[in-house]
Symmetry: C2
């Protein structure tokens, strides 16, 4: 299949490389000049399970691509999703499937503006990957990915299964999900309860979990996620979520969530509007209520983005 | 009058020195060994309007004091109020007036455990002062202080006026307040809307005020202050408070609130339980409701206290 990776950062590169190696016709798309130039000049350096390969995969800037592809995988930052879709319109034919594996909720509202709903596929991956520098990705370890069609229908489900098979054949341990929205909400709830808090407190998961405030803070954020998810048709269990999040934080330990990296370490904008911010927005826009814990969390993160941007 | 200053930090020292200079029989009380030892060995160094004096004022540890005094001024940290009152019981006679000029709300609930209500006097001061080091205080500039009896009654009001006169005669520009609770709530609301936020965001007042999140964050915190104050019998105006706080923040500019100094700069416990924490506590304990913005703010500050304490 002809495949485009829209956003070729750490995780997009892992998908692109694996699909390329399995014989698919893959192109990478990215906006970072050093990354694009390095790959064009020297090839793409890939450390796969500590073995280094250099491969040639075509890479383009978003506004350079022209030929319609069969499948596009979206691996941008959440805030960049709309801009990327706008730029790559030439490769989106009437039958082009677009798969979003982005973290967070509310991406379908962006995708719907650019793509017929029957071409939208949503998924969750727990694979990890790390960009060592421009043109150089490193990854190891296993992890699952699940994907489902956004519109319920036989042909949509068949297309989802084709995409699943292509990924699975490429070694990207992927399955068809009967309820991907549950997985998306669940992951968003986990991230929403921890990421912004660790960024605000400038601490790692274990440090936060060790405070006597972590349980009530997590519970108040989770409660609002559970409420809005339920109104949107997805049932999460509050008690189970709180327990799982606390245990994960203790087990994962000294890891700094990506929002900490974006905000504290790199003074960059965060994806909070697709986690806590989505809950606050849906509460007020869709259900005429409030989600004060997620709202204040979102506002504090945005305030900190602005404070740090000026330094 | 025989006067004790319970807590002889920056502002307590200013009051103690001025009352001593005006001829009152003043003793200082403090727990900081370097401070006590320096004053005992070398006298108290006071920079008053840039002129330096060295004076001898007796200073004691809290557990050393014995003789009953006429008036005690409480200038501890909020968290240390109860401990100090416990320690200085020997100087609290049946007629000893106790004046609290501490920032924040809820101190009367602590005072009531140790002192007959008719001996309690509450006040607000906007004087400032700075401890240069152990045994060395510096201050300049003017500012008002207001004081009122806690229990309404003729003899209590008379005692309050006596205390006011003593302070005013000592050059501590003080007046009798007809509604000191309003002043206390108002100051607490100003501090509650700004101090914790600047500590969490690690920024000064002007930096916070410059973000597009400051107005909604301040408004949501103020709204809960106004609600609880009203239920406690004090009317604050939400619109006026928000306007005043934003303007103050812009005008005061590059100042870091004391909670930032305590938490971020010195990794010490903060007084948040007597600001935002008091609102959350009163909401749930006294009025069976919630104050989520103040509750989350309080929890984040406590979490950060714990994270920083371990570093």
């Amino acid at each position: 299949m002809k495949v485009a990776i829209a956003g070729s950062g750490a995780i997009g590169s892992r998908f692109g490389y694996m699909l390329h190696k399995a014989g698919n016709d893959v192109i990478l798309i990215d906006k970072w000049p050093e990354h694009v130039n390095t790959i064009r000049s020297n090839g793409f350096t890939v450390d796969e399970d500590n073995k280094q390969h250099v491969v040639n995969i075509p890479i383009y800037y978003p506004n350079e691509v022209n030929d319609v592809v069969d499948v596009v995988f979206m691996f941008t930052k959440s805030m960049g999703l709309g801009d990327m879709l706008e730029d790559i319109k030439p490769i989106l034919g009437p039958k082009t499937s677009v798969v979003s594996l982005l973290n967070g909720i509310g991406h379908e509202d962006v995708l719907k503006h650019y793509i017929p709903m029957e071409n939208i596929f949503l998924g969750v991956t727990i694979l990890t990957s790390h960009l060592e520098g421009p043109g150089h990705v490193a990854f190891s370890g296993a992890g699952t990915t699940e994907i489902q069609n956004f519109v319920h229908g036989e042909s949509e489900a068949q297309m989802a299964r084709n995409i699943v098979k292509m990924l699975d054949d490429a070694g990207l341990n992927t399955s068809y999900s009967e309820d991907v929205k549950f997985s998306i909400w669940r992951k968003a709830c986990v991230n929403g309860a921890m990421n912004a808090t660790c960024a605000l407190l400038d601490c790692n998961l274990a440090e936060f979990a060790a405070t006597n405030q972590s349980e009530p803070i997590i519970r108040s954020i989770v409660k609002e996620f559970v409420n809005i998810a339920s109104q949107k048709g997805t049932q999460l269990d509050e008690g189970e979520m709180v327990q799982y999040i606390l245990e994960s934080a203790r087990n994962i330990g000294s890891h700094y969530p990506s929002m900490h990296q974006d905000l504290v370490q790199n003074h960059r904008l965060t994806e909070v509007d697709f986690l806590n911010g989505a809950i606050a927005r849906m509460a007020s826009e869709d259900f005429n209520t409030t989600a004060p814990y997620n709202e204040l969390t979102t506002r504090l993160i945005h305030a900190k983005e602005q404070v740090l941007a000026t330094r």
